[in-house]
Amino acid sequence: MTKKERNRHFINISIGCVLFILGITGISDEYYALMACVGGATFFANGVLPFFSNFYYRSPKRRKKYEERLHKRKINYIDERKKFLRDKAAHVSYMFMWMILLLLAFILTLLKVEWWVAAMLAGLSVLQYLIASVAFFYLERKM
């Protein structure tokens, strides 16, 4: 585990503790207190689990297996074909979500649900399109 990773885990643990303590003692509203506790527990678990994992993989036999797994993960991350496939999958997912949001907004309008629900869904599809366009123009200028 590198120093940078260790620091990141300590930050997660600290945020987790602060949120959890805040949830137990600092927030009077039960709903928000529970939210803070759950958020705190998540951060805490995120920070603590890597230390256990690091401890578990200390033995040389496990260490070798672990390093192989890390190496495989790194290769899969930098592999250009997999990067290309990930980008393609993201594009398919983007198109799919865009259509689903618009379709859902239309169906909900037909079902006469409250106007803001349908408007929010339609707004989300527009926002998704705008973010994609801005990202595209930014990337095009950079390249």
Binding site: I75, N76, D79, E80, R81, F84
Partner: protein, 67 residues
């Protein structure tokens, strides 16, 4: 685009895994390249050519009709 990757690899008695490790890609990518399902970037093409000690043109054969 056709390629002679499998031929060159087998000539040298190298496994897909070893070639993949040498050029820092996954074994599946080598498989896809050999089957012609995936065309590599110029960077990967240079890495492969460098590994086999040949030119890119010796491995990859560009066919205009295939585009």
């Amino acid at each position: 685009m056709k390629n002679r990757l499998e031929e060159l690899r087998k000539q040298r008695g190298i496994k897909q895994e070893e070639l993949a490790e040498a050029v820092q890609v996954s074994r599946q990518t080598i498989g896809s390249l050999e089957n012609g399902r995936y065309n590599p970037s110029i960077l990967l093409a240079f890495k492969l050519a460098g590994y086999f000690g040949v030119t890119i043109e010796d491995i990859f054969i560009y066919e205009e009709d295939a585009e």
